[in-house]
Subunit: 424 residues, 2 copies
C-alpha cells in the first residue's frame, strides 16, 4: 500500500501555542483515497532540520505532505529549504498565483508589497497548484526513482487550516493520477442523539456480522453527532456499491429517526433541505446558546430563502419585551424551564411570522443557578402543528456545552419538520 508522511513545519506548533489540526484532516482525506499515513512529524522553522527530516521521509514514503512555513515573514523558511532539497537553481514567478495575490490584497484594500509578490515566487524545480484562498501556492516537487529508490512526490501546503483543507481536492486528484491506488468505497450515514459507546453496543450484532472486507468507522463530532463510515476495500466497483447499499439499509432500519442523512450533511444543511422541500420558514430565540443556532443555520448558502431571523435574549427584559414571554411564567417556573422555552419559541414565531421556531434557555456554565447545574438546557420547537419542549444536561466546558445545546436544538427541529413532511 502507498504510504505518506505528513510533516508540519512551524515553531508555533513545537512550543505548543497552536494545536496541529491539519495532520488529522490530511490523513483522513488520504485514507479515504487509499493512502495510508505512516508518520506525522512536527518540525521547527530550521532549515537544516527541515531538509534532513524531509529527505528521510521521502526515502521511506512515496508521498510527503508538508504544511506551514510558507508565510511572507522572515521566520518562514520552508520554501528555501525545499528549493535546496530539490536542487533548485533559482525562483520563477507563477503568474496565476500572482494574480490571486493581487486579487486578495486589493479586495482587502491593501497595497501589494514586494514581500506579497514574493509569495508567488517558487523554486524552478516545482509545479504549482494555485491556492485560491491565500497568497502562498501549493508546490509540487516530483522526484524520479533514482533519487530516493522509488518515485516520490512532495506536496508543500500552506499552514492556515482552511487553505490546507481547500488545497486537498487538487492534491488528491494529483495523487490518484500519479499512483495506482487500491480501490476503497465508502458510504456515510449521519446519526444524532446517541453517544458513540451506546451506539456501538446497539449496532454490535449488525457490525459483528459484516463481511471481512468491510470496515465500520465511528467519527464523532460535537455539532454533527456521529458519522458512521462503512468502507469496502479492493472490491469490484458495481458489486461494492450494491453490497454497501444493502448493509446501509439494514443499519438505517436499526437506527430509525436518529439517522438524519445518508450523505455528508450537517444538521443545519439537512434542515435547509427540509424547509425548501416544504416551502416553510424558520426563526430562532436563543438564550444560553447566544446566537450559535442562528450562526449555524446561516452558514448554509441560501439560508435567506427560509431563515427570517432570530432574537438572542440574554437579559430577562429582552425575553419579556421583545419575545413577549409573560413575566408571570418566568416568576412561576424560572427562566430555565419548559414553559419559558415554549413561550420563547412561540414568541419569536409570532414576532417574525415564521412557520417554525426553535428556542433555548439554560445555563452554559461554568456556574449553575442554584437549582440547575451548569450544562442544563430546555429546548423548545414551535411549528404549525404545535410546540414541544425537551430538557438536556451536559457536563462539558462552556464552549462545548453551547455547541451541544445548539446541536440538540437543531436535531429536535429537524425531527419535527421531518415528521410534518411525512404526515402531509
Amino acid at each position: 500500500m502507498i504510504t505518506a508522511s505528513i510533516c508540519t513545519i512551524g515553531d508555533e506548533i513545537l512550543i505548543g501555542q497552536v494545536v496541529d489540526t491539519n495532520s488529522a484532516m490530511i490523513s483522513r482525506r488520504l485514507g479515504e483515497t487509499g493512502v495510508r499515513t505512516s508518520r506525522m512529524i512536527s518540525l521547527p522553522d530550521d532549515r537544516e532540520t527541515i531538509i534532513s527530516i524531509i529527505r528521510n521521509q521521502l526515502e521511506n514514503n512515496s508521498i510527503v505532505i508538508t504544511t506551514g512555513g510558507l508565510g511572507p515573514t522572515k521566520d518562514d523558511i520552508t520554501k528555501a529549504a525545499l528549493a535546496a532539497l530539490s536542487g533548485s537553481t533559482g525562483y520563477v514567478m507563477h503568474k496565476g498565483q500572482l494574480e490571486i495575490v493581487h486579487r486578495i490584497l486589493s479586495s482587502r484594500g491593501l497595497d501589494v508589497l514586494d514581500i506579497n509578490r514574493a509569495q508567488a515566487l517558487v523554486p524552478d524545480t516545482c509545479e504549482v497548484i494555485p491556492n485560491q484562498l491565500g497568497t502562498a501556492p501549493v508546490m509540487v516537487f516530483r522526484f524520479p526513482e533514482g533519487k530516493f529508490g522509488h518515485p516520490a512526490v512532495l506536496y508543500a501546503l500552506p499552514g492556515v487550516p482552511h487553505e490546507a483543507e481547500g488545497a486537498m481536492d487538487k492534491v488528491l486528484e494529483d495523487i490518484r493520477s500519479h499512483f495506482s491506488l487500491r480501490s476503497i468505497s465508502h458510504r456515510n450515514i449521519m446519526v444524532y442523539g446517541m453517544a458513540e459507546s451506546a451506539l456501538s453496543k446497539l449496532i454490535a450484532p449488525w457490525e459483528d456480522s459484516l463481511p471481512p472486507d468491510m470496515h465500520l468507522a465511528y467519527l464523532p463530532d460535537t455539532l454533527k453527532g456521529v458519522r458512521l463510515r462503512l468502507s469496502v476495500y479492493d472490491g469490484d466497483k458495481d458489486d461494492e456499491d450494491s453490497r454497501l447499499e444493502g448493509q446501509i439499509k439494514a443499519l438505517k432500519a436499526i437506527l430509525g429517526d436518529m439517522v438524519y442523512s445518508d450523505t455528508d450533511d450537517t444538521l443545519e444543511s439537512r434542515i435547509g433541505q427540509l424547509l425548501r422541500l416544504s416551502g416553510k420558514t424558520l426563526s430562532a430565540a436563543e438564550s444560553c446558546t447566544g446566537g450559535e443556532i442562528a450562526h449555524l443555520i446561516t452558514t448554509v448558502a441560501g439560508a435567506s430563502e427560509y431563515f427570517l431571523g432570530s432574537v438572542t435574549s440574554y437579559a430577562v427584559s429582552v425575553k419579556e419585551e421583545v419575545l413577549g414571554v409573560p413575566d408571570d411564567i418566568i416568576a412561576t417556573h424560572g427562566v430555565v424551564s419548559a414553559e419559558v422555552a415554549a413561550a420563547m419559541a412561540r414568541g419569536v414565531r409570532k414576532l417574525t411570522g415564521s412557520d417554525y421556531a426553535v428556542s433555548t434557555t439554560g445555563l452554559a456554565g461554568p456556574d449553575g443557578d442554584g437549582v440547575n447545574p451548569g450544562g442544563t438546557v430546555w429546548i423548545g420547537v414551535a411549528g404549525p402543528n404545535g410546540t414541544i419542549t425537551v430538557k438536556r444536561s451536559y457536563r462539558n466546558d462552556r464552549k462545548r456545552n453551547i455547541e451541544r445545546f445548539s446541536a440538540s436544538a437543531l436535531d429536535e427541529l429537524r425531527k419535527m419538520i421531518e415528521k410534518d413532511l411525512n404526515n402531509r
Copy 2:
C-alpha cells in the same frame, strides 16, 4: 539547551480519527520549564516502529515523552515495546497503582478483571509515577550516559488527555531534579486590523534591531488577528523580563490602537473586560453575520453581566418591524449600506436599552447582490457619544467571510469603547 521529543502512539491519530492535543499541552509545559521541544512524532501501534523511532529520539534528545498505547486492549503495545527497548527481563506489580485500579473500577461498579490488574504491571527496568486519574501508571525509564551518548530519560504517559495533563506536574518535577535547565521567557501581544505582511513591513526596523537572543513569531488567526510572540532564550530571569518589557513597549508605540491586548486575549474577552471596567452594556443587530457576533460575545463566561441580547435580521421585515429601520432608508440606500448599518445599531440599542450596539449588514457570499460582490459588509457601532460606520470587503468562502465580518465588527466596537474610556 536540553531538548525533548514528544511521541504520540496510536493508529487512531494516524488515520485522522483523533486530533493530537497532548503534544501541544506537553510542549507548552516543557517550554515554561525551560526545555525546548525539538520534535513531535505520531507513530502507529507497531512494535518495531515504536522501538526504532524511540531509540532514535533518545539518541538525539535528553528527554523523550510518549503518550498513548497503554490501554488494556490487544492493540496497545507501547509497554511491551518499551520493556524490550530498556532490556527488561520481566514485569513487576506496582502496589500503589494496583490500589488505584481497584478504587477506580469499584467506584464505577465494575469487577476487577485480570486485564485490569495487568495495567499495574510494569517492566522491572522502570520507576513509576502513579496515575491517580486512570488505570495506566506513568513509567520512567532512565538510561545512563553509555547507552545513547548522554544521560537520557523516557517518560511514558497515558494517552487520555486529562490523564496526561494530570501527570505533567510530577514529570516536570522529575525533569527539574535531574537536569540543569536554561530559561525561556515569552511575551505576547494581540494585534487586529493589519495583515501579517503589512504588519511585518511596518515593524521591520524594530524587528531588525532586536538583539540576537530575541526571536519574534507571527501567529495569524481569522478571529483574533495576529499574535506577536517575542521570546528570549538563556537570559538571567529578572533581566530577561525587563528587556522583553522594554521591547514590547517600543513595539506597542509603533502599533498604536491596533494592539488590543498584551496578554493572550480574544477580541470578545477584551470587550468583556472593557465593558466591566466602564460598567456599560451591549447589544447586537446582525444580518450577514447571522448570530456569530452574539455567539462570540457569549462564549466569554460572565457575558450576561453586560450583554443584553441581539437580533438577527435576515429578512427585511425583521429589520423594519423589530429593529425599526425605516423602509425609506432601505429603499433609498439599499440593504447593504452605511445608513442601514447605522439604523440597525441605533435600533437594537433602543430596543434593548443598551449603552453600546454593534451591527452588520452585507453579503457573506458566495453571491453578490448585483451592486456589491459577495464578501462586502457595512459595520455600525452606536454608543453614548454617537454612531460610526465602516465598510469592509473580503473574498473568502462564506464561512470565512462571516468570521472576518464578525472579528472586524468586534474590533470597531472595541476601539469605540476604549476611546470612550480614555476620554472619560
